[in-house]
Amino acid sequence: MSNNRVTRRQFLNYTLTGVGGFMAAGVLMPMLRFAIDPALQVKAEGDFVQTSTKIADITEEPIKVDFTFEQVDAWYKSDVTEAAWVYKDGDRIIALSPVCKHLGCTVNWNGDSAHPNQFFCACHAGRYEKTGKNIPGTPPLGPLDEYEVSEKDGFLMLGKKIANTLV
């Protein structure tokens, strides 16, 4: 036994630590996976939502278009209403998200009389151009998000949010 580098005490220590660790892992692993589930759930998304705005009514001037969809929040289902700023750029229809890229407040077109023809966020005076491009020197760090746009029977349909393609 003298040339045996693992002593009896060490062997027992390793065995007990291993078995104990295995048991603890067996108890804790399901609970941890259970807890981090929201970060790993795959969400189906990207369905276009019907709005009540006619394509023909959209002009060069941004208008606020409300749209309602069914939101599934775990065990709670509800109808949620969100909005988009919609205007025509030539023949193309642009729909911008009103969520400020600074800290998530809601922006308004012509919201500040001192800066006409801009999107304005009242929380920290963030400003954007008509394309959604953030104006340097104001708090936002990026341009407003854009909605995918489609048409059905003459009415506007909005899809999922994407990064701004105009800027």
Partner: protein, 224 residues
Amino acid sequence: MLNKIYDWVDERLDITPIWRDIADHEVPEHVNPAHHFSAFVYCFGGLTFFVTVIQILSGMFLTMYYVPDVENAWKSVYYLQNEVAFGEIVRGMHHWGASLVIVMMFLHTLRVFFTGSYKKPRELNWIVGVLIFCVMLGLGFTGYLLPWDMKALFATKVGLEIAGSVPFLGDLIKILLAGDAEIIGAQTLTRFFAIHVFFLPAALFALLAAHFIMIRRQGISGPL
């Protein structure tokens, strides 16, 4: 690496005696199953504690999804069991563990009874043990209602009627448990949740601490 961190802390705070007090103690021959296999009966107390730890852990994680509200309780339980990864396992641990705690605790009580370990000087520890038994039954009773299904509702109905049959104080006990004289509903559920998750566990921790401090003070009872 770990050893170095331990030494660094130990040098400053002298923590070795603290855990030595907790972990280093003699296991007498008559309670060691390696010497006499029948000594496994001395394991039931430890097993009760082990299952209790699992109950506490799984319960903590279950409250990440559970809502104690008549509209949403059942839906949230359904969601966590069927939509969340390992939900069936975590809820299963809490469900089966609840029964196992009672079984282990009962076997532990039988061992203490038949080895006469409740006799002087350990009478106080027996009394604390009986209180732990009551708290555990209370935890089982209040936890039973929380999924808010038909079995839960009718079990609670019966339980509240039993509580209501206590002489003189019955009606008062019933209304304090259920939150209403007639209805088993919104207030019953929130009350049972609060009792199950805050009040009884707090009592349990205090009683378990007393139980363990006493057994360490007095040592395990001698051989038969």
